[in-house]
């Protein structure tokens, strides 16, 4: 079962993170902390999502999740980013019962195993919650209906 958690895709993203490091300029920034374990992430976005940058410290799950987020959401329209965000949330909150769509989630499907470990779901979600806040502060809502 532990192999489902630590899939090679996750370990690869952890050891070789994509897009790591904070960059300027940006329009929205959020700093999120997991108070029970001390994991932290700072995430920045531009208002058109042409750049998403982040830095943080934490476990393989939270750090790999940030790398996957960068890969999946950078350069997307807010509508697309919203759809992917929703799909990732649904996967993580699905208690292992949700079948992930690789066309939407790409490497994010590797997190399907994490959903079976309730204590680790919050690790995987940390960067995604920070993204939601950063996007809101940049004036973009990941939910287009709210914006309209």
């Amino acid at each position: 079962m532990i192999d489902q958690l630590y899939q090679d895709i996750i370990l690869d993203h952890y050891k070789h993170p994509h897009g790591r490091g904070l960059r300027d300029p940006f329009q929205g920034e959020a700093h999120h902390v997991n108070p029970t374990c001390g994991d932290e992430i700072t995430l920045r976005v531009t208002e058109d999502l042409s750049e998403i940058s982040y830095d943080g410290m934490g476990c393989s799950i939270s750090q790999a999740s940030a790398s996957v987020l960068h890969e999946l959401l950078k350069g997307r329209t807010p509508g697309e980013a919203f759809e992917i965000h929703e799909a990732f949330l649904a996967l993580m909150q699905g208690r292992g019962q949700v079948e992930p769509d690789e066309d939407v989630l790409g490497d994010g499907i590797a997190f399907a195993g994490v959903a079976k470990y309730p204590a680790r779901v919050k690790c995987a979600l940390l960067p995604w919650m920070a993204f939601k806040d950063a996007a809101a502060r940049a004036g973009i809502s990941v939910n287009p209906e709210v914006k309209a």
């Binding site: 532990i2 374990c37 393989s60 799950i61 750090q63």
Partner: protein, 409 residues
């Protein structure tokens, strides 16, 4: 006397469990200890045969319950060398015991701007945050001892840190994260020289080695039942009686009073003054049974066993490549709680892979975030031992760490 580990372990039903297909290796006793059959049975027997409310019933069950509850207080008082049972106040845990002193201190110490409270960088959050709040409320200043690179309390500035402005010093007896055992003798001498009180957080010491409040010379100690084979929901504050007598009620209510009129209330003497509402009666009786169990084995014997296990573990961990131990590297002046880092692997991942092998350790900041900050890490992995821990279990930990290194190679 050497502990008979086979016999001891047979008293703990949970130790026969399997976790993820492996025998349970429980290395998280600093977090909460497991409970022997004797404690579980004492609590069940009370509930089944003697249940009644305490201190207010004339009937037989109420009388039996009161005798058992007060009997537990007497056992606990004797266990820590208290001058009299009335010096032991039942609380729900160490946190409540510390808060009891911190919330009443503004009154009985007449705290205000210019006064100082001293803690240390080694504290569990529960012996730090209540004092931060006290200082915010009163305008008093919070100061602290640092921690050396070896994980010892840095007492080099003792005379400056504890001075005429100091009203109370509260430090940990044994660190829940570094395992360091602090000898409070110099701090007590200095504090009493300048007229300050000393509180000792004994959450990790009372369960593991003989603690005698008279020998320590301190004014208050806090400890909790669930780390010493007892149930959750019961802990204790010990205080010198003449101090408790000067303190106002904390959580007022039934039992805390002497006479109540609509115009005002006078309060009962300690410990009733501080035990508002129906207390955790069954849990107190369970803690009394835990003390019986510890006494039967002998605290000296328990301590010796843990020293041996700790020496074995320190060596076994040092032999795993990439493992760095935080805190004292030898068993001298430290207890059986060992925190470490595995190079390149976050503690959460270490704990997860160990759990897959049935090895239960704690990961995170251990409610002592300033200690993690002091050593420049966001979190640590901690293995902690008790009277039932075997060298085989330490071997299982070391094997598990090899597996961790393999997964993250």
């Amino acid at each position: 006397m050497t502990l008979d580990l086979v016999q001891v372990r047979a008293d703990f039903p949970i130790l026969t469990r399997e976790i993820n297909g492996h025998p349970l290796v429980y290395l998280d006793s600093a977090n909460t200890s497991q409970k022997p059959r004797q404690v579980l049975e004492a609590m069940q027997d009370h509930q089944e045969r003697h249940n009644g409310n305490v201190s207010r019933s004339v009937h037989t069950l109420g009388t039996e319950a009161t005798a058992a509850y007060e009997g537990a207080r007497e056992k606990i008082a004797a266990f820590i060398g208290a001058a009299r049972p009335e010096e032991v106040v039942f609380t729900k845990n160490s946190t409540e015991a510390i808060n009891l002193v911190a919330w009443t201190a503004s009154d009985f110490l007449s705290l205000g701007p210019g006064d100082e409270i001293v803690v240390s960088e080694m504290e569990h959050h529960s012996n730090l945050v209540p004092w931060q709040l006290l200082c915010q409320r009163t305008g008093a200043t919070l100061r602290w001892f640092g921690v050396t690179d070896e994980g010892r309390l840095d007492e080099s500035q003792l005379d400056e840190l504890v001075n005429e402005r100091t009203k109370l010093v509260s430090v940990v007896h044994m660190s829940n994260i570094l395992g360091t055992i602090n000898d409070p003798a110099r701090i007590v001498a200095r504090a009493h020289e300048v007229g300050a009180l000393v509180m000792l957080d004994c959450s990790q010491s009372v369960p593991h080695f003989p603690v005698n409040v008279a020998d320590l010379g301190v004014d208050f100690i806090a400890f909790t039942g669930h780390k010493m084979l007892g149930p959750t929901g019961i802990g204790a504050l010990w205080g010198r009686y003449e101090l408790l007598e000067r303190m106002p009620p904390f959580l007022a209510g039934g039992s805390t009073i002497e006479t109540v009129t609509m115009a005002g209330t006078t309060f009962a003497p300690p410990p009733a003054r501080f035990e508002g509402g129906t207390p955790p009666i069954t849990e107190a009786i369970g803690l009394g049974a835990a003390v019986d169990y510890l006494n039967k084995l002998g605290m000296e014997n328990i301590h010796r066993h843990e020293q041996e296990i700790t020496a074995y573990a320190l060596k076994a961990l040092a032999d795993v490549p990439g493992v760095t131990i935080f805190g004292p590297g030898t068993p001298e002046g430290r207890g059986g709680t060992v925190s470490f880092a595995v190079d390149g692997v976050h503690p959460h991942d270490v704990g997860q892979i160990l759990d897959d092998l049935g090895v239960e350790v704690r990961v995170g900041h251990h409610c002592a975030r300033p200690v993690c900050t002091r050593f420049g890490v966001p979190a640590m992995t901690r293995a902690s031992f008790y009277l039932y821990t075997t060298t085989d279990e330490i071997d299982a930990l070391a094997r598990g760490l090899e597996q961790v290194r393999k997964v993250f190679a």
